[in-house]
Subunit: 287 residues, 2 copies
């Protein structure tokens, strides 16, 4: 049976370090603060927000909730972003997306100050991920996937690593992060021919296709480590499921992250870590 | 015997379009102008400069040569970049690199205005390549590789495509450009295990490792299209050579770009095309 790569111990280890850094900040009079900017009341956003606030409290990061009505005027949202960028007491900004359709989401996204872009959504952050420099921050979920591999001592360097999915939120950045760790990366997507064959040949397989339980035995092989980034609600089974058909994978692969309790449970820990890094960097810059 | 994918007809086709666009610009009173910024007299730079100037003249792009002494003060270089950024008569800037070691090359690189970054070296341009948006321009050599495939009608979509080399100048950007054309891309590098085996399995193989004639039959297979981005002077043979051992490849693969006369001969055509695009975009923005 596969080893289950649970997210909790990974998150715990990150949180412990974050807590210490928060203490160091507080001693210097810096109160690491994450602004959570939400437009409207989407259930997904509210759910993530609850998780983030709980995590923030646990590690000692302050949260500034900024909530705008679902029909907020574009200019008011932009103004709010500018205020948060300029506010020296705010170190990180998490802005929920997608924004309402009448708002220029691309403009809003790139209006965020990369130094406060702790969720890694701006072009600045993405160029940092691509060029392997410390501009901005990596998207939290992409980094969470890498942190799980590292925590469990799974060697990345030189490994045949296949990423399924090429989104800017997860597929492309996680591929780049793994390449910076010296993995040999292959990126698959809907135009890929024989994705199962390519996936089967992977030593590390990252699934970020967002199709529930679609990755079955034809994608899997023994000695494989599987990181399942997908998450969705399975109406039929009345439970959360990932991209991978867990029951099938369990009997085949060497190790796999569960859903829930895998990658998703590390994401907010990364968000808090980024916020504290931002607080430290910004306060160094200001002194 | 392999089909030889010569660069000249590709360059000719691009130049023809560029020439037409230059005429349209001139009719509107816009004189597309490329500034070539060179520090010192490095032979590589001088050689590329001669090629670029010849190409510019052929398509009707004006060139503004800006030459600074090899021991230029950092602040003078930065001032020159700022002037070129601000000069409404300059539409594209090619800055030769590497710069002298005492100069902060990273700062200089990112000081270039992305809208004038026709050689695709700034973080802005690289983020555009990563995110597939029209921020800045793709690095010319990376785009030249893709243009050759397109010109010769070689299907990219769905193809197993292996890029050897992960530099920011060519490996990573060409992989991204090919992925945006729906190739399934694998990026290999010095930490990759069994690079020959991975390369052999490619339908399109792009070599950008910069090791002369190092890619022999163990990397190659029939039905393979090989794009050789490498170029270097072979002392022994007294001629220019690519990464690929051409004599071996010729008898094995389906098609291959020669060196010289392949990718390199398309690069300056792309540079001129970018300059004209920049002229059009900048003048639209100004009117």
């Amino acid at each position: 049976m596969a080893t289950i790569l649970k997210g909790k111990p990974v998150a715990d280890a990150i949180n412990e370090k974050t807590r210490q850094m928060v203490q160091e900040c507080l001693q210097k009079g810096i109160e690491p603060t994450l602004a959570i900017l939400r437009v409207g009341e989407r259930e997904d956003d509210l759910s993530y927000e609850r998780g983030a606030m709980k995590r923030a409290e646990a590690v000692g990061v302050s949260v500034k909730n900024v909530i705008l009505p679902a029909d907020v005027e574009e200019e008011r949202l932009f103004g709010t972003i500018r205020e948060l960028n300029d506010d020296p007491k705010v170190h990180g900004i998490l802005m929920f997306r997608p924004l309402p359709k009448y708002i220029d989401g691309e403009k809003a996204r790139n209006m965020l100050c990369p130094k406060k872009d702790v969720d890694g959504c701006t072009d600045g952050s993405l160029s940092g991920v691509f060029t392997n420099t410390d501009t901005g921050f990596a998207p939290c979920t992409a980094q969470a996937a890498v942190e799980i591999l590292k925590y469990y001592g799974i060697e990345i360097s030189g490994k045949r690593t296949v990423v399924m999915g090429r989104s800017l939120v997860i597929g492309r950045p996680v591929a780049m992060l793994l390449m910076h760790e010296n993995a040999t990366i292959t990126i698959c997507h809907r135009k890929t021919k024989d994705m199962p064959g390519i996936a089967r040949n992977a030593e590390i397989l990252v699934s970020a296709i967002g199709e529930m339980e679609n990755i079955g035995r034809e994608y899997l092989s023994p000695n494989q480590v599987v990181i399942d980034v997908g998450i969705g609600w399975n109406e039929e089974k009345q439970k959360l499921c990932g991209d991978v058909c867990f029951e099938e994978a369990e009997g085949i692969v060497q190790a796999i992250t569960p859903v829930p309790g895998g990658v998703g449970s590390v994401t907010t820990s990364i968000l808090m870590q980024h916020t504290v890094f931002a607080a430290m960097a910004l306060s160094n810059g200001q002194h």
